[in-house]
Symmetry: D3
Subunit: 186 residues, 6 copies
Amino acid sequence: MPIVEAHILEGYSPEEKLRLTAALTNAIRLVVPASDEAVTVMLHEMAPENYARGGTSRSPAPANPDPKQVALAYLDAMEARDIDAAEAMLATGFRMTFPGTKPMSSISELIDWAKHRYRFVKKTNETVEAFYEGDCSVVYISGTLSGEWPNGEAFAGIRFIDRFEIKGEKLISQDVWNDIAEERQK
Amino acid sequence: MPIVEAHILEGYSPEEKLRLTAALTNAIRLVVPASDEAVTVMLHEMAPENYARGGTSRSPAPANPDPKQVALAYLDAMEARDIDAAEAMLATGFRMTFPGTKPMSSISELIDWAKHRYRFVKKTNETVEAFYEGDCSVVYISGTLSGEWPNGEAFAGIRFIDRFEIKGEKLISQDVWNDIAEERQK
Amino acid sequence: MPIVEAHILEGYSPEEKLRLTAALTNAIRLVVPASDEAVTVMLHEMAPENYARGGTSRSPAPANPDPKQVALAYLDAMEARDIDAAEAMLATGFRMTFPGTKPMSSISELIDWAKHRYRFVKKTNETVEAFYEGDCSVVYISGTLSGEWPNGEAFAGIRFIDRFEIKGEKLISQDVWNDIAEERQK
Amino acid sequence: MPIVEAHILEGYSPEEKLRLTAALTNAIRLVVPASDEAVTVMLHEMAPENYARGGTSRSPAPANPDPKQVALAYLDAMEARDIDAAEAMLATGFRMTFPGTKPMSSISELIDWAKHRYRFVKKTNETVEAFYEGDCSVVYISGTLSGEWPNGEAFAGIRFIDRFEIKGEKLISQDVWNDIAEERQK
Amino acid sequence: MPIVEAHILEGYSPEEKLRLTAALTNAIRLVVPASDEAVTVMLHEMAPENYARGGTSRSPAPANPDPKQVALAYLDAMEARDIDAAEAMLATGFRMTFPGTKPMSSISELIDWAKHRYRFVKKTNETVEAFYEGDCSVVYISGTLSGEWPNGEAFAGIRFIDRFEIKGEKLISQDVWNDIAEERQK
Amino acid sequence: MPIVEAHILEGYSPEEKLRLTAALTNAIRLVVPASDEAVTVMLHEMAPENYARGGTSRSPAPANPDPKQVALAYLDAMEARDIDAAEAMLATGFRMTFPGTKPMSSISELIDWAKHRYRFVKKTNETVEAFYEGDCSVVYISGTLSGEWPNGEAFAGIRFIDRFEIKGEKLISQDVWNDIAEERQK
């Protein structure tokens, strides 16, 4: 039954409000075992002049971009080997860990490490999930890898999962797990 | 600034309401870049007799258990080799995948497979995250593994991540990734 | 979808709140073609000290009795020939009209008129409906009459409808239509 | 004192909202003995994109036509002997009962029956009342009949009442009571 | 923490809504020791057709002018010796008291009295405060007086305070206290 | 028409809620020319566990004492020459100004100054007004003084006004104006 009302400043796009609606519905369902149909969400938009905190009106901050899209755009840039675009998405202090690596902080480190592992790799995404916890968005993307080993042999269907922490349009971290070593030792 | 009001039937415990409050706060922050302090949540509890849909009063469904606790209890039972307790937590149709395995559906399958891999393994959890998407809760637990190889040698600090799908008190699926093969091939 | 919230002073009984809930649901459905299930009603009860008009707190007025019950109690008293009880339910200025009568204002007038029509009559109610319009409640009761003609012959299945105007526990008017004459002329 | 707030999707006309406001005011007054002035109704209209059930936005259904107008239009068509227009307003399964008749389902049956009763009849309406109960609107119209008996003599001032069940623009049933037989037997 | 929501008819200007927002914030803080930042005010504006009392829609009354501005405009007119403008601002029954005077009701009385006290006087305002109590707005203005004594000597820095009662655009009363006599007797 | 809803934490006393209700009613009336009767205030009290900002529940701060009572208690203590009680009510940094004085900061300074002015003085209060502005409550008390001049002669009916700034239970400032000098020079 839960009915959720959110009072927000006006100015968010239909797509942003849809994301908000979905997130609030999921928040309820995490705790209350209502069917999806039983959760009603109402967004009440307010003109800035009709809202005040401490007697002062406020303007709406631009919405966060969809963190799923941010993570996917980064993976696309990496797959397209558009290193500049990918680098531009990294927050100061960015840190990434791949199977068997120490934490790395730049894409060039990653490329150095990866070139001994495969000629190229492509991701086929099966799940893309996002939520907010602590003080950033977290995105999980899992699916399978395909590509070529250094010797030119093809591989496919190798499970992977990536975890991203994202603030605004920037990646704070990327953690990657996959079954490449499992596959190689067969 | 967002202010969220949720109308719920009375009967949820303080702990359940705290989880709900936190989930709604996170839902807002996924989309609106408000600081944590700027998100206000009000829960309005209603006596069943004061709420009607279609002219009929409703009783509150018991809250979902905290899916983080469900996943952790399962991992505890596995670590304690309390197979009965762990089996009791599996939903009909449960399915699990470990590095290099086909999907398995019973704990005995898992034990068969694992006994060639290590004598025992312990998890040190670093992140435990839960959210709701689709029609179940999803829990991610990541951290490091320690234990003994079949030859009795100790290992530690091997990264892992588990993904659980949970409905109520039952696990629907478990997917595991880790760096064991990576470590073994060194 | 409509969601109705009514803020009322606390103190109404569950039965009274159920009537209120039903009336609000029906009010919505008179205009909005929502299914019954799609209309949500929330009653918000307030302690008198939390409500003020013109800076003054208010006490809740006792609810109106269910006008259907008032009308039915009157008909029961009449059928049981408990004239005192029936008279006690008539408002000052009460007025009633039966088929072929002038407006009458007392039960003795009615008895005089009726004794030439039948020895006794019983009502089998099929519909009992109530709503509020103008400044009183209106109740319609329809069904069939059975009884004995003055000559002792039995009759049954004769259609009737009564319309009552009711304020609080008192009847303001009763208007009766039925097929007795229709039946007699056969 | 009651304050009623209804959250509806935007798109209803001022006339429709006025009907809704009146119905909600009457609903309150059926139970709470507030003066008309003491009942406040606020309609909160929502853009479809700001309302979601189960995470999905909804469009407002067109309002029900005013059932009083539907019933009156039917009586006008009958009085004007516009049989096609009247037939077009009958729902599948329509059923009507007049004094002394079996249930009839078509207007031609009614005309056959009525031609022995009067040359023509006109209704002067005194009360027109509508409410919603069960799963349709109910309209009561009462007043007096005038017309000519089969022998050409005029009559007037004969009490009648009609009860209609209405869904959308269609009549589900019509039940009629009046004092014609009463009058004839004098 | 208090969150205040005010439902008002639409049509008030941003400046009027800002005054309302500030007044509601101050009202809360008079009782609840929240910091200014912790008081949130939301104004919900309603189209007249969406608000009904007793089933009747209402139009918004024009806002009261800012009583501070009314009082200041009166003092400006007096200082500019624009007697007509000042007179036009006095309500029927206006009454004023100055140090040592009986209540006076016209500006000419005031001028007669004042001419023995100083050649002219100017006000330097330090505080201008307004609130509502009883059935009118009250404005307090305090600061210092400067001007010339009847003998042409200058004076300055003499404390004063004026209290005004104001309804709409009219002054109901003015009460003045100051240290002129204190200063003269030195 | 305005309807004001304030969401507050539960725990305030009926007297405190009455003050809040009155203050909110006055706040509306400062701007909207509604009659007192037309302003409805609803206080919604929340259990601390049902309210969260930034995901953290809050406890209600104790209400401010009524600043009118604080000011009157101070004047009572002064009139009763209970210097200790009066001193205990002064905030650090307290400042007071009387007719013809420099700002003083202690009650002993005041007593020194006053002893040349009168043997004793009593206040008859006519208006006591309080509101909140800036970051403290302001109280105005006006009326008339009576007492004895140093020579033992009685006086009465001398106008005065006191302005207090108050935070919690402490006075921040007192400013006094009166007609004593006016009276003495007669």
